[in-house]
């Protein structure tokens, strides 16, 4: 927090993406509390993913938010204030690994199919379904990698895209 504050003094109002990991009680209503905190205070969530941890009484939420340092500071403090929140960790400024999963259905024809399969292969994507006019690719990776694939697939026509939102883990 102190580092964040120093940045505020030096860097001004630069808006940055932050990946925040939140350990919460695995109880009903907790997601609504977190979502309500963000909407009620006007913070934007870029993505959110939730699942149980190895301890079935605890869930982990990985939240990607955007905001200047003072907003991120408020977000982490407000999260910490919730009784059902056990731990909040902002991964900014520390080494961490992140992944997203997408399922993307791309329009194909007999002519374009080989090229699309080749692109998927380069990205180590998996073809998980195919029919006469489309192909469904599964891909995991960082947001950058996923954006790069989607960029290449766009000219062929993306019929449907399902994206999980980011999950992340600290390296230490």
């Amino acid at each position: 927090m102190r580092n964040a504050y120093r940045l505020l003094l030096i860097g001004g109002n630069s808006t940055m993406k932050h990946t925040i990991s939140v350990l919460v009680e695995n109880k009903f209503g907790v997601l609504a509390r977190i979502a309500g905190l963000f909407s009620g205070r006007g913070y934007n969530i870029d993505s959110l993913s939730v699942a149980e941890t190895t301890d079935p009484t605890v869930s982990r939420m990985t939240i990607v938010v955007r905001g200047d340092e003072s907003i991120i500071e408020q977000i982490t403090k407000q999260l910490n204030k919730l009784v059902d929140v056990i731990k909040v960790q902002d991964y900014a400024g520390m080494p961490f690994l992140e992944r997203e999963l997408i399922l993307v259905k791309v329009h194909t024809s007999a002519q374009t199919r080989p090229e699309i399969m080749q692109i998927a292969d380069i990205f180590r994507g998996k073809i998980i379904d195919v029919d006469h006019s489309s192909l469904t690719i599964e891909l995991t990776g960082t947001s950058d990698k996923i954006e790069a694939l989607l960029d290449l697939l766009k000219p062929f026509g993306i019929r449907e895209l399902v994206r999980t939102g980011k999950i992340a883990i600290a390296r230490k």
Partner: protein
Amino acid sequence: MKGCEIVIDALLKEKVEVIFGYPGGAIMDVFDALYESPIQFFLTRHEQAAAHAADGYARATGKVGVCIATSGPGATNLVTGIATAYMDSVPIVALTGQVPTPMIGNDAFQEADIVGITRPITKHNYLVNNVDDLPRILKEAFLIASTGRPGPVLIDLPKDVQKAESGVAYPTKVELRGYKPTYEGHPQQIKKAAQEIAKSKKPVIYAGGGVIGSEAAGELKEFATKTGIPVTTTLLGLGAFPETHELSLGMLGMHGTVYANYAIAESDLLIGIGARFDDRITGKLSAFAPNARIIHIDIDPSSLHKNVKVDVPIVGDVRCVLKELNKIVKRCDTGAWLKTIAVWKKKHPLVYERKDGKLRPQFVIEALREITGGDAIVVTDVGQHQMWAAQYCKVVKPRSFLSSGGLGTMGYGFPAALGAQAGFPKKLVVVISGDGSFQMNIQELTTAVNCNLPVKVLILNNRYLGMVRQWQELFYKGRYAATCLARNISCPKICDGKAKKCPPYVPDFVRVAEAYGAVGFRVMKEKDVRPTLKAAIKTPKPVVMDFVVEQEENVFPMVPAGATVQEMIKGVELV
């Protein structure tokens, strides 16, 4: 035990003596269990009043206030009271009935998702699904409400849970892994604060409701007198430091004293204690205390750095931190600074027009202050009268001035006063209200009379929603839209308030009071103010005093919203 009995058992174990509420279908079992219990129950005439009464009880006594209502409309009627308590960090526990668990979500009769509705206005809330969880939840609720930064907690009790049997005992202790408020301040930060204080030449203490909440008025007084630093308080901080003390600057902010606001503007060190740098305090943020280093002591980490940048943040309980700080601080070199302030105090005291013989609201409050000697518990509503009360009550003791600050809830005063009176049956409890605010919970005259809660209500009746009218006069070209309370259907559409003939004012508060079985007085002249107040205080019943005061009196000084101290409107000048 049945769920409903577990509830009453828990209340007794938590030493709850009084409850305010209103029954209904979905909470009947709890009321049934309450029927023969030693807890004193106060039946209000509206659930909102029950929540405010619990709040007033909590603010006056320092204990947790408890209110209870049924599902659906009963629960939603509590909402304003809960939000009021949340904004001002008041510990209350609200119990609501709920439709039976199998019916939840079916749009059943009198069903409302009150846990969803109150999520952003409670510190925490619970829907009890299993009666075996109930003892733990009740224990947690009282712990959460009363510790850390206090606040309201709501427990929603489905009817089948109230009826279900459980053998689980009431826990003596609960452990919440996500809730660990910090009480002790960081020693290094406290040391740093002491160094800043030693260096400063023009320090000011800015104390808020947190000082009262943590019972730190004694520590604050020691801190101020030991260092020789002047103290200004927020509205909620009134009583945290005796306003009769020479180091007191009174209230700061939008309607604060000129000298308090000048002192902040000129200060080189601002010590915020249990206060949150609210917009009614700071005005234009970029021009607030421009030359000051800032120390901020608060138990809520999210209060720090929220509105202003802080040089020495200290997270901790105000009392714990001040105790440590008092061990190491020394007298500051504030002689010249206090002289400067004394000049401002002399030049810009709180004043109002006294020469024309008209009955002014400030005069009524000064008379009340003189007669009670600061011994009464004063509870205010919201509006002009609230600000005059804050300016002229000269509060000397903590928990003797109760007011809705954060939410600014009109209608708070009267029911909150009933709560305070329930907590202190022998003390004099006075409501300072306006003719607008009082009508928002006027039905509680029944509660006051039937429960023998002899509060004294002063209505400073200016026939206007005065604060809004003041803003209309100052910022909306005198267009008095919907603020005249005397207005009726016969009035012209456009009226600047200068009409020769106005309709008779409705209601006649004296006759209203009498209709409820209370006592009513009307006062039109200055000379009748003191005798009436004295007579009211002697009357062992609830009394309503209708002071028909100057209509267009304004609250000054005033720093307009979002403005700077330089833009302050000072009002009447001493001649």
